[in-house]
């Protein structure tokens, strides 16, 4: 049984991505008791799936490691993985949460030796790599996973493979009879750091993500660039494994569009500017990027980065929302069709049909949790993000649960939410004397 101590002076942080880790750490390092709840088997969230950050083009592993070390070192944080909040009741200073914990089938004896993974044969789509490759049924989500403990896919339970895994383990870490648990927690304040998910590109019919292998999303490109990723860090086309030297980026794929997401997702311009450096990184001057945009929103200090990319001769900018993508069947090259608005002349002069090796859709950000459906008594806006509203009581949003934010702003936002939660806890503590 999972044991956690929770009182009405506890802060529950829901979501173990960069925002949740930040909020949990800020509160815990102020001496508050924090329970950090993560739905996946590991902390890290979307940031752990990135290849590089903008604008410094450094690797997220570095910042992630600092945060993980702080978490390991802090006795005020209790971590629950594979856990999901299913119900919340009460008010500021006195919440009750119901948390469902899915079985990991592996206990704390695990040394992450990997013998179980070697023993099993069954594979499943690798969600960490956006299903671009397969992983074993007994697996470590990714190299930096924390807790550093393997997981057994529940779909493997009851098969001979599960028994093979158990037999292979020298540390008696595998318990195939582990059952789902339901916990009741008390909390004084709740921080929702549930993050975001990429908009479903299949819904953008004219771009053919569902039909053309060489149309991928920006998050998938991040995984492809990772040396630990599905292609081993090679920038190649899904259709034939050919090097993708000429990449097109389509901005606002699903954002700023009343047919899809109404809001501007804010990060995609900078993400594509960042990703336009990838072909150059891999292929030097032979790597070409073309960015199709409505307008580039490199907000405030990111203008410098935009100018740097503009000065790069391998990057081409075309002011146009791409109308449709068709396929050149012989070469499997996607062909982008539309009108270049900066070309002068008549309609004929503006029209383009440009073939590229690979097309990357800069997909929008949407909240990963449907807060309205969860009926938490929160003020939720049309886009599904949690609004800052005194009526939310002791519940606060951190990071992308509150808006479409980049990592930097998500962390600032998470720190702010930790401060708000701490104020609630301090009021409870003062009242109780």
């Amino acid at each position: 049984m999972t044991e956690v101590v929770a009182t009405n002076q506890t802060i529950v942080v829901v979501g173990g991505g960069i925002s949740g880790m930040t909020a949990a750490l800020e509160a815990a390092e102020c001496g508050k008791q924090v329970i950090l709840i993560e739905k996946n088997p590991s902390l890290g969230g979307r940031v752990s799936q990135l290849y590089k950050y903008f604008p410094k083009l450094c690797f997220p592993t570095c910042g992630l490691e600092i945060n993980l070390r702080r978490i390991k070192a802090n006795p005020n944080i209790s971590l629950l993985t594979l856990a999901e909040v299913t119900a919340v009741s009460g008010q500021a200073g006195d919440y009750s949460l119901t948390v469902k914990i899915a079985p990991r089938y592996i206990n704390s004896n695990c040394t992450a030796c990997g013998a179980c993974a070697d023993a099993v044969e069954s594979t499943f789509p690798n969600e960490f790599n956006y299903n671009l490759n397969q992983r074993k049924g007994a697996y470590l989500p990714f190299n930096m996973a924390y807790p550093q403990r393997f997981v057994i896919d529940p779909r493997m339970i009851g098969t001979a493979d599960a028994d093979k895994a158990k037999a292979a383990c020298k540390f008696e870490a595998i318990d195939l009879d582990m059952q789902p648990e339901e916990l009741k927690l008390k909390a004084g304040a709740i921080i929702w750091a549930t993050g975001w998910q990429p908009y479903d590109a299949n819904k953008i019919q004219p771009y053919g993500y569902d039909r053309f292998a060489n149309v991928i999303t920006s998050v998938e490109l991040e995984r492809m660039m990772d040396p630990q990723g599905p292609t081993g860090g090679k920038l190649v086309r899904p259709s034939d494994g050919k090097e993708a030297k000429d990449i097109a980026f389509i901005q606002c794929a699903g954002s700023r569009d009343r047919n899809y997401l109404k809001h501007c997702s804010r990060i995609c311009c900078m993400a594509s500017l960042k990703q336009s450096t990838y072909p150059r990184e891999k292929f030097g001057a032979e790597g070409k990027s073309t960015i199709y945009y409505i307008d580039i929103r490199a907000i405030d200090r990111f203008e410098d980065f935009y100018q740097k990319v503009q000065a790069d001769t391998t990057v081409n900018f075309i002011k146009s929302k791409v109308a449709s993508i068709t396929l050149d069947k012989a070469t499997q090259n996607p062909i982008l069709n539309g009108n270049d608005l900066e070309k002068s002349g008549t309609g004929k002069d503006m029209r383009y049909s440009n073939a590229h090796d690979l097309v990357v859709l800069a997909v929008g950000m949407q909240p990963s949790v449907d807060f309205k459906a969860m009926n938490l008594g929160l003020s939720v806006n049309d886009e599904g993000f949690i609004e800052l509203d005194p009526a939310n009581g002791g519940q606060f949003a951190a990071g992308c649960a509150s808006d479409a934010l980049d990592v930097n702003r998500a962390v600032q936002n998470a720190t702010a939410s930790a401060l708000r939660a701490i104020q609630v806890i301090n009021q409870v503590a003062n009242a109780e004397g």
């Binding site: 700023r256 047919n259 929302k321 109308a323 539309g338 009108n339 270049d340 608005l341 004929k348 029209r351």
Partner: protein, 207 residues
């Protein structure tokens, strides 16, 4: 130039956007355009437009009144609705194109030689005579639209089809003498006149 046109110029001076907003069907949507160009890129006839839709919208904002209203561009619209389906701001672009063409026509600024405009006028003139379309006359007028010798050539080319239609009873040659019409032609014309008056009053109300 019609008197309505002069009145409109007088009234709106340098605010063509407002003029479009007030007088063109769905014209109030023009200000919502964010210049992404997906309409122009989606248009099957796009390469034939002098000014694609998003450019027309920008020209409206830039006060290019004469250029917009005398343009052949919006007359190219075939109502396929591709632009409307894809517009990220849900502008009723197809309707605005027809609205602009209609408005230009009403002001007497529409390009007279533009084929769609020309044929529409021909169709209307044919229809209002008896209240029924006289297909024979309309067809012949269409053949001779671009001059006498062109018309003879076209007629010769279409002869086998005409003969086929005649022998199967799909074409009545006697229609050339006047043709059939609605029962109450007097009432029909009175009705058109009334409609014209109402339209004029509606436009007048804006001037």
């Amino acid at each position: 130039m019609s008197s309505v046109n002069t009145a409109m110029v007088e009234k709106y001076r340098n605010n063509f956007l407002k003029e479009v907003s007030d007088n063109v069907e769905e014209g109030e949507w023009v200000r919502m355009c964010m210049q992404c160009g997906v309409c122009s890129g989606s248009c099957p006839l796009g390469p034939h437009w002098e000014h694609p839709p998003q450019e027309l919208f920008m020209m409206i904002r830039a006060n290019k009144r004469e250029e917009v209203l005398s343009s052949t561009s919006m007359w190219m619209c075939t109502s396929c609705y591709n632009c409307m389906v894809r517009c990220p701001r849900e502008l009723p672009i197809t309707h605005i194109m027809h609205g602009l063409a209609h408005y230009a026509k009403r002001l007497g600024l529409a390009p007279k030689e533009q084929p769609t405009n020309k044929f529409s006028q021909m169709f209307w003139n044919n229809l209002v005579q008896t209240g029924r379309v006289n297909e024979l006359k309309l067809g012949l007028a269409l053949y001779f639209m671009n001059g006498f010798s062109e018309g003879i050539k076209m007629s010769m080319k279409m002869r086998p089809i005409g003969q086929g239609m005649f022998f199967t009873g799909r074409m009545a040659p006697m229609e050339i003498l006047g043709g059939h019409g609605v029962k109450d032609q007097k009432g029909f014309h009175a009705m058109l006149k009334k409609a014209e008056e109402l339209e004029a009053a509606r436009v007048g109300a804006h001037v």
